[in-house]
């Protein structure tokens, strides 16, 4: 008895030791990021929170304002809601489109056709070009007078479109350009699709299910974890989008692409109102946290994990 208990104690202790060792190893592995975060980001983050309650133009000492900055954006800033509106419009059009296109392309590329690997590479390749490079390429593609896109429209007898210079079009042009990066989520869906066990489809075949039925009743539910992941990551990055608008339109024409991030940038680095810009950035942070939380909360109603044996 005594022997046994000392044995289990030993085992427990060694298990504990092992767990601790694993924890230490884990911490070590993420330590570059962790140390980087603590040293390089945490300080500035807290600093921006503090100065969000002040007026400060980088030179001189900040002047304490209390909640004035936070009150001002909702009551007395003619551009705030415009910028918020543009951003929401962009997010709620771009993210669903990205999810749908990524899934559709992944479905196409999930076939066992000859040369499929080549096509997978081809469809993924564009997403390697991002940011300013992408913006510059499209500034030529969509050029009013010399752009290939307008040239092709004209060849088939359609009128030229002022892609980036018409206030009613510019935002959609930016969404269109952003979808260029659809390759990255597409790869995720592809791997999700390939991990769906073929047994399900065989069973469905025996039951006489058609391809549409198979997609909606087997494929779609089984890739919902990937959809959730994709929605969350692209939602967060879409809310913070700045590069395309910054390079291509500068927020114009007529503020039709004036994203929230541009408003923050403009206040920080044109008007040098660091306090106000920080306050806006924190409000955006809270907004994103709330939206992410809502989506995560909703996920138990539509995300199916195979391990639970399906959802409700």
């Amino acid at each position: 008895m005594a022997l046994a208990s000392s044995d289990t104690l030993k085992m427990r202790r060694s298990a504990k030791l092992k767990r601790r060792r694993e924890n230490v190893a884990g911490l070590m592995f993420i330590s570059p990021w962790l140390i980087g975060f603590l040293l390089l980001m945490f300080g500035p983050l807290m600093f921006s929170l503090v100065i969000s309650f002040t007026e400060w133009n980088m030179v001189g000492s900040p002047k304490y304002l209390g909640l004035d900055n936070y009150v001002r954006m909702f009551t007395n800033d003619p551009f705030y809601f415009k910028a918020l509106g543009v951003t929401f419009k962009y997010v709620f059009i771009m993210v669903p489109l990205q999810v749908i296109f990524a899934i559709l392309i992944a479905l196409l590329l999930n076939r066992a056709t000859y040369g499929i690997k080549f096509f997978r590479a081809v469809f993924y390749l564009p997403s390697l070009i991002q940011g300013v490079t992408l913006a510059l390429i499209f500034s030529w593609m969509l050029n009013d007078d010399f752009g290939p896109v307008n040239y092709m429209l004209e060849l088939v007898g359609l009128p030229r479109v002022h892609w980036l210079t018409d206030p009613n079009v510019a935002l959609y042009a930016l969404i269109f350009i952003a979808l260029w990066g659809v390759g990255s989520p597409m790869v995720l869906y592809l791997s999700a699709l390939r991990s769906v066990s073929s047994e399900y489809y065989e069973a469905a075949d025996i039951d006489g299910a058609g391809p549409v039925r198979k997609f909606f009743n087997i494929t779609l539910p089984l890739i919902t974890p990937t959809i959730l992941f994709n929605i969350l990551t692209s939602l967060i990055s879409a809310f913070q989008t700045i590069v395309l608008a910054f390079v291509l339109t500068g927020g114009g024409p007529a503020n039709s692409t004036y994203f929230y991030s541009l408003h923050v940038y403009r206040n920080a680095f044109t008007h040098f109102k660091m306090g106000y810009a920080s306050a806006m950035a924190w409000v955006m942070f809270v907004l994103i946290v709330i939206l992410t939380g809502l989506i995560l909360k909703s996920s138990k109603y539509w995300v199916h994990y195979e391990a639970d044996g399906g959802g409700r």
Binding site: V59, P78, P253
Partner: protein, 434 residues
């Protein structure tokens, strides 16, 4: 994961190396071009030798004239070395950060005094001028106004340029339209623009985005963007004179491009389109003139801004000053450099070959650019100029300008009522300017 002991050490040391890399990345400030004042004293080695840091937004070709003057200065002062730091992008950000952290260069170019001055980091130049009996009357008085904010002097002028209208003679000849002459009217301008606009060619580009360059039109009609002291805009921006001026600007927009573009034709892109003959007339400073003439491909003329009935020419001025930070360690040497660069000797070198106009009146006369067929129009624009651009009058102007811009966009793009829109913009901006 099972790792052998050896492997574990490899991983550990890799992780450690990564961490160290991160640590050194944030501790590397002193290595990155930003010399501490102490370091510059050691640099020279020789007794009494100082190294000055000089910061400018000019780079490449536009830096060369300044570099020439600096070289001449160093020859004259063998104990002073000048290190040029060229910052073509995000100049204000870089300057403000360095002022805040007291690592600002000993001498820097500055144009936006309302932005830098309130932090209290700039050296008052009046005391240096007084101490040295430096003659400030040799400069054009209007340019000295651009060196002041809050009643004090913060810099000595570098160079200046006004703006005028460039026109492409060939496009005028093709359309059978006579060349414009100084003193032409607003109506003639709109008429000319209309005649020179056809598919693939624009008579003139008027965008609602460039509020700053609308000021000469507003001024010449007896109006202003904001009160002298920069505090009152309601009732000034939306004055009857300005309603008339913006009605004209709207006509100008309608007569030509109707381009809803932020970037397409503004400054540099406009220059390109002008040089390729897509635009018949364009509004700019004297800067591109030298290059265009050197290339010799374009037969161009320049003319002063058109005037409203009974109006007088009031040009807009682009200028900047040499300043130094309060925290500077080599102020004596810095003052010597500023005096040289802004004074007769330096300015003669800098403004050679029609690079720019000289703020020193005697040198400007000597250069004789006012009688140059291409530069005459620019010189005339200075004569009547007696107003500071609005951004020099209030440190919060850039915010107010955003509101005015949105108003002008509504007027241009969606035909909003001019008087009402200017009134609304003025009320919004009033709140910012206080």
């Amino acid at each position: 994961m099972k790792l052998s002991k050896n492997r574990k050490w490899v991983v550990l040391s890799l992780v450690a190396a990564l961490c160290l890399g991160l640590l050194s990345a944030c501790g590397g400030k002193s290595e990155s071009g930003v010399n501490s004042p102490e370091a510059s004293a050691e640099n020279g080695g020789k007794e009494g030798e100082v190294t000055l840091r000089f910061m400018t937004w000019d780079s490449g070709q536009t830096l060369q004239p300044y570099q020439n003057a600096i070289n001449a200065f160093m020859e004259k002062h063998p104990n002073i070395k000048v290190k040029v730091e060229s910052v073509p992008d995000n100049y204000d950000q870089k300057l403000l950060t360095s002022l805040a952290s007291e690592t600002a260069p000993d001498v820097f170019m500055a144009w936006n005094y309302p932005l830098y001055v309130p932090g209290g980091a700039l050296e008052d130049m009046q005391t240096w001028a007084d101490k040295d009996n430096y003659d400030l009357a040799k400069y054009y008085p209007i340019l000295m106004d651009y060196m002041k904010y809050d009643g004090k002097l913060w810099g000595l002028p570098t160079t200046y340029s006004t703006r005028a209208i460039y026109y492409n003679k060939k496009l005028f000849d093709d359309a059978g339209v006579p060349y414009p002459k100084d003193g032409w009217s607003w109506d003639e301008f709109v008429d000319t623009v209309q005649k020179l606009t056809k598919p693939g060619q624009y008579g003139f580009i008027m965008t609602p985005d460039d509020v700053m360059t609308m000021q000469p039109y507003v001024w010449s009609n007896g109006g202003d963007m904001v009160s002298e002291d920069g505090k009152q805009i309601d009732g000034v921006l939306n004055s009857p004179e300005n309603v008339k001026a913006f009605t004209f600007l709207k006509q100008l927009y309608d007569a030509s491009s109707k381009i809803n573009s932020a970037g397409k034709f503004s400054t540099n892109n406009g220059l390109e389109s002008f040089q390729t003959g897509q635009i018949a007339m364009f509004d700019n400073g004297m800067w591109p003139l030298g290059d265009i003439l050197k290339e010799g491909k374009l037969d161009l003329g320049t003319v002063t801004h058109p005037l409203p009935e009974g109006g007088s020419l009031k040009g807009i001025i682009h200028t900047s000053g040499y300043s130094m930070p309060k925290s500077g360690k080599n102020k004596e040497a810095a003052w010597e450099l500023i005096k040289f660069m802004s004074g007769e000797e330096g300015i003669k070198i800098i403004t050679a070959n029609k690079f720019a106009f000289s703020p020193v009146i005697s040198v400007d006369k000597e250069n004789g650019y006012a009688t140059d067929p291409y530069l005459e129009a620019f010189a005339k624009e200075l004569e009547g100029s007696d107003k500071l651009i609005a951004s020099m009058r209030n440190e919060k102007w850039s915010e107010a300008e955003d509101m005015i811009r949105a108003g002008v966009q509504a007027i241009f793009y969606s035909n909003a009522d001019i008087e009402k829109t200017l009134g609304e913009a003025a009320k919004q901006a009033q709140d910012v300017l206080k």
